[in-house]
Structure formats: structure tokens, C-alpha cells
């Protein structure tokens, strides 16, 4: 069963701006799918069309087999949306916002009240249920939007940058919760600029740039394409010149930090063996950038350099 099928989706705005130029995307039911892309790539437009907030210029969209042109009501019933921008009625109470959303989806009042409590508890907002939304912090507003999107228990949850402005502790607990509802069967599509988040949560990744999909594959397959990784090593003792290592590029960041780039033909054991021969001892190491981030940048940059062809890894 597919949760979402997008075929040749196109959107040209009234001002002539071409936002989407033939997007094709398939999201399987139960998947946790990342939709990544630079600002203005077309992510929010695509989501807007799927959720009927934006009128499409061409193409087809099916949500759990319901075409949005012929069976919009059924398609909408399957979707929960957490939009990128805060779109809460800031004068209304936290509880009423979620209750009203349940009502718009036709949930009877008693069930709506039970679900409201369930999801406000899950988002740690139950204690603030009587407060007006305007009194919440930015992170709390985002959590309220997640509770609102979940209240009708959608089969497909679309999260457009849900953790922007959320502190680390709450973000981690939100990740756990999203994993939990995904494990319980909810299909999730996530757009985010936090690629650590995408790599940590998603099993599938699609990258969109300039209104077209330039990569769409399982996360493991995509990461395997990464040909070069860069590490930053913290050294036990200062050095003055970067060592020359066979098969590795090195650069001294400061006397106690060494940057090392490695290709797929070499492994970290070889790196440490060579460093040991140079009497350089390593206290710790970290990735210079998130792996997905490196790949993302390379794909987008390659596309810019070679707009006709498919981006090479």
C-alpha cells in the first residue's frame, strides 16, 4: 500500500514563478520519509498541494489511493499537517485549538476531549491547556501544532520543519514520540533543515531542488554514495605542521585540532596506525559535518554545476 503518490506535479504561481516542474514521489505506507531541499526548492509548495492549501497547475496526487481531484474529502481525512509557519489562533486556549481541530474532522465531542488530553499530555502541554496560545514559547507552539495535527489520528503525518526553535531536550523527546507513532503505523513525511534529525529518524530520503526531485532512495543507499568523509581530531599534544598521511588529506586547524578527509578506499584503522607512527595521539574525533549534510550539499552543488544531468555522488 502506498501512502502518497505524486506524479508529474507542477506549480506555476500567478507571478510566473515556477515552483514545481514535474515532481514524482512515492511514499510507502508506514515509511518515515525525509523531504529535503534548500530554501525555495519547492518542499512547502508540494506539501501545500497535497494538503489542498495550494492549487496545482498540473499532475496527480493520491493519498492512500484517494485522488485529490476526485476524492478530496477522503484524501484530507488521511492527512495531518504541521506547517512550517505558526498558524495558531493565538487568542484561543491551547485546549480549544486542539478540540476545534478534532471537530473539523468530525470527531464527536467526547472522543475529541479524550484525544485532546492524550495528545496534549504527549506533547507536555496538558498543564497549560487553559492558557491562550499567545502565551506559549516558540517551542511550545510547535508542540501544540503537532498535538493539533495528531488529534484525528491521521494515517499520513506531514511535518514541515517541526523542531525549529525547540530546545534539545524537548527535540529528543519529540523524536522519540515520532518514532513511536511511526512504529505504530503512521506514515511520516518530514521536511527539515536539521539533517542530523533526518538521518536519525528517516528510512527514506528525497531531495528536491529547483522544483524537481534530484535524489529519492532509502537512507542507507543514499549515505553509501558518500565518497568522502571529513573528521576533526582533537590531539593530546600540540603540533606545528599537518602530517602527510598516505591516502588521507590533512589540514591543521590549530595546534591541537587536525582535519582529516578520507575516501572509501581507506579505513580509520589505517589512519590511526599512520598517526601513531608520527607520534600523534588522538583524544577524540568527530564528523566535521553530518554525513547527510555533506551528501546534500554535494548533490545540490553538482546540480547547479550540471543542470542538465543527474547529480553524481
Amino acid at each position: 500500500m502506498t501512502a502518497l503518490v505524486i506524479k508529474n506535479l507542477m506549480k506555476t504561481y500567478a507571478n510566473g514563478n515556477v515552483a514545481l516542474q514535474g515532481v514524482d514521489l512515492v511514499v510507502e505506507a508506514g515509511d518515515f520519509h525525509a523531504l529535503l531541499g534548500p530554501n525555495g526548492a519547492g518542499k512547502t509548495t508540494a506539501i501545500g498541494i497535497v494538503t489542498s492549501l495550494v492549487n496545482k497547475s498540473g499532475g496527480d496526487v493520491e493519498v492512500f489511493g484517494h485522488n485529490i481531484d476526485t476524492d478530496l474529502e477522503a484524501a484530507k481525512s488521511c492527512i495531518g499537517l504541521v506547517p512550517q509557519e505558526i498558524n495558531l489562533n493565538l487568542w484561543d486556549s491551547v485546549q480549544n485549538i486542539v478540540l476545534n481541530q478534532a471537530g473539523y474532522y468530525g470527531l464527536p465531542r467526547r472522543l475529541a476531549q479524550q484525544r485532546t488530553e492524550k495528545y496534549l499530555q504527549a506533547m507536555r502541554l496538558w498543564d497549560r491547556r487553559k492558557q491562550a496560545a499567545r502565551s506559549l514559547s516558540g517551542g511550545m507552539k510547535r508542540r501544540l501544532m503537532i498535538a493539533r495535527a495528531l488529534v484525528h489520528e491521521p494515517k499520513l503525518l506531514i511535518l514541515d520543519e517541526p523542531t525549529a526553535g525547540v530546545d534539545i531536550e524537548i527535540r529528543r523527546s519529540m523524536w522519540d514520540y515520532l518514532r513511536e507513532i511511526n512504529a505504530a503505523g503512521t506514515t511520516i513525511i518530514l521536511t527539515t533543515h536539521n539533517l542530523e534529525e533526518a538521518e536519525s529518524l528517516c528510512r527514506h530520503v528525497a531531495i528536491i531542488d529547483e522544483g524537481a526531485i534530484i535524489e529519492d532512495a532509502p537512507m542507507k543507499t543514499v549515505l553509501r554514495k558518500l565518497q568522502r568523509e571529513v573528521f576533526v581530531l582533537s590531539l593530546e599534544e600540540p603540533i606545528t605542521v599537518a602530517p602527510t598521511l598516505d591516502g588521507f588529506e590533512t589540514k591543521l586547524l590549530d595546534s591541537l585540532e587536525l582535519e582529516v578527509a578520507k575516501g572509501p578506499a581507506h579505513n580509520l584503522n589505517e589512519l590511526f596506525a599512520q598517526l601513531a607512527r608520527c607520534n600523534i595521539r588522538v583524544l577524540s574525533l568527530r564528523n566535521k559535518a553530518n554525513r547527510l549534510e555533506e551528501l546534500f550539499l554535494r548533490l545540490v552543488e553538482n546540480k547547479d554545476a550540471n543542470p542538465q544531468g543527474t547529480a553524481a555522488p
Binding site: 492549501l53 492549487n55 498558524n87 489562533n89 471537530g103 468530525g106 470527531l107
Partner: protein, 257 residues
């Protein structure tokens, strides 16, 4: 269309609107009460005594139905235009747009909210009027049906205004430049029989004249116009404006990109 889903969705909009009206009662209920009290004191007590009778009624009695109708019209209109535009402006209209409820339910829910506020304020103004004059309802069914239909017509007009409005200034243009002049020239304070023939004929083109007079007929039993024509106009505009609202929603004008 799933009927039970849409009924619950409409109830939700109406409940939300009632909560909003009561939450900001200082803005929604108190001002019309104060304004109408001033009208009754100034036009009824102070000036009315010098005017004498109109169409066989004390001036205060004569203007009371028109003032009640004026408050119903302005509050029905104001409720829908401000509520729906605020939802557009704050983007929480998206809560409704992404939901499976039908466009008709969104329109009907907001119109019902406007009608409820119109009735609430109309009832309050009637109670205030009773402190100044005696009112007997001659034709209860006409009174209620004209009040409801007028409220529906102006709630729908408010909805259309909200759809097209791009900034807060846009929601005050129609009330200031169209609604208020037409209401004042719609026979609230005078019988059109007092006007020269040309202005009498011109007044017949003002739909608010029919609403005010039909409502006055319901309460006092007297009107300057045909009640059948008034019903025809009210029903025609209700159907026409509802159709326009649905067309705007379907095309997404002003609300979908």
C-alpha cells in the same frame, strides 16, 4: 459528502464563534448597546417628542424596529467579516481548509455565528428599547423570519468581504461607504412617503429599505413597501450570495495560493 462529519464541523465553527463573541464581549456586545441607548435618548426622547407621530406611531415606537434591524445587520456583517478575515490573516483558516469538511459547512458555520451574534445584539437592543417605549409584535412569524433572513444576507456579505480583504482596512470599507449610508437611507428614521417622488423611487432600489420595513411591519403592522417583494428580495439575495461564497471557496480566491 459525509453528513455527520459536516454537522459536527459546523457545530464546532458555531461554538468557536460564540466563544469568541463572549470572550470579547466588550467589543462585540457593549458598543451596540451603548450606541442604541444614545439613539433612543437623542432621537426618541429629546428630538422625538418635538417630531410627534409618524405613520400613526410615536416617533420612538416608529424608529425602534429600524434601530433593532440596524444593529442586527451591522453585527451579523461585522462578526463574519472580522472573524473570517482574522482567521485568514493569522493563517488559522488553514485548520479548516485542510480538514475534510465541505466548503458549504465552512460558509454555513460562519453565517450561523453571524446570525447568532445578530440575534444576541438584536435581543439586547429590543430590551433597551422597552425601557423607552412599548412594542407589541403584530406578526411574530414575519418578525422572526425577516430578522433571520436579513441576518443571513449580511453574514454572507461579510464573508465575501473577508474573502477579498487583504488588510484590516479592507474590512471597514464596505461598512463605512456602503452599509452605513444604505442603512441610514433605508427608512430607519423616516417613512419614505415623506420624500419627494424622485427620492421615493430611488429609495426603492435600496435593499435595506425592504428589510427595515418588513421588520417594522412584523412589529408595528405598517410598512412602506410590499412584504411579498421584501421576502422575494431577501430570499433572492440569500441564494445569490451563498452561491457566490461557495464559488469563491471552490476557486480558493483569497484563501488558497
Amino acid at each position: 459528502m459525509n453528513l455527520s462529519l459536516n454537522l459536527i464541523a459546523m457545530q464546532t465553527i458555531v461554538r468557536k464563534e460564540v466563544v469568541r463573541v463572549l470572550r470579547i464581549w466588550v467589543q462585540t456586545i457593549v458598543p451596540p448597546a451603548i450606541t442604541m441607548t444614545l439613539y433612543f435618548i437623542i432621537f426618541g426622547n429629546l428630538i422625538g417628542d418635538r417630531i410627534g407621530t409618524m405613520d400613526g406611531f410615536d416617533y420612538m415606537q416608529y424608529i425602534a424596529p429600524g434601530l433593532i434591524m440596524m444593529s442586527v445587520i451591522t453585527n451579523s456583517y461585522g462578526n463574519v467579516v472580522s472573524s473570517f478575515f482574522a482567521a485568514k490573516f493569522g493563517r488559522h483558516v488553514e485548520e479548516m481548509l485542510i480538514s475534510p469538511m465541505a466548503n458549504a459547512s465552512i460558509v454555513i458555520g460562519h453565517v450561523a455565528g453571524g446570525v447568532l451574534r445578530g440575534i444576541l445584539v438584536g435581543t439586547l437592543v429590543t430590551v433597551i428599547a422597552l425601557f423607552f417605549t412599548d412594542l407589541r409584535v403584530e406578526h411574530p412569524l414575519v418578525t422572526i423570519s425577516v430578522l433571520l433572513l436579513s441576518s443571513i444576507v449580511f453574514s454572507l456579505t461579510g464573508f465575501i468581504n473577508a474573502v477579498f480583504a487583504r488588510k484590516f482596512d479592507d474590512i471597514s470599507i464596505i461598512p463605512t461607504f456602503v452599509l452605513t449610508p444604505l442603512t441610514y437611507l433605508g427608512g430607519v428614521f423616516y417613512s419614505i412617503s415623506l420624500l419627494p417622488e424622485f427620492w421615493q423611487t430611488l429609495s426603492l432600489a435600496n435593499p435595506i429599505l425592504y428589510m427595515v420595513n418588513a421588520f417594522r411591519y412584523g412589529i408595528l403592522g405598517k410598512a412602506d413597501i410590499s412584504i411579498a417583494v421584501a421576502y422575494g428580495i431577501l430570499i433572492f439575495f440569500s441564494v445569490l450570495l451563498f452561491t457566490v461564497c461557495l464559488a469563491l471557496m471552490r476557486r480558493g480566491i483569497g484563501i488558497r495560493e
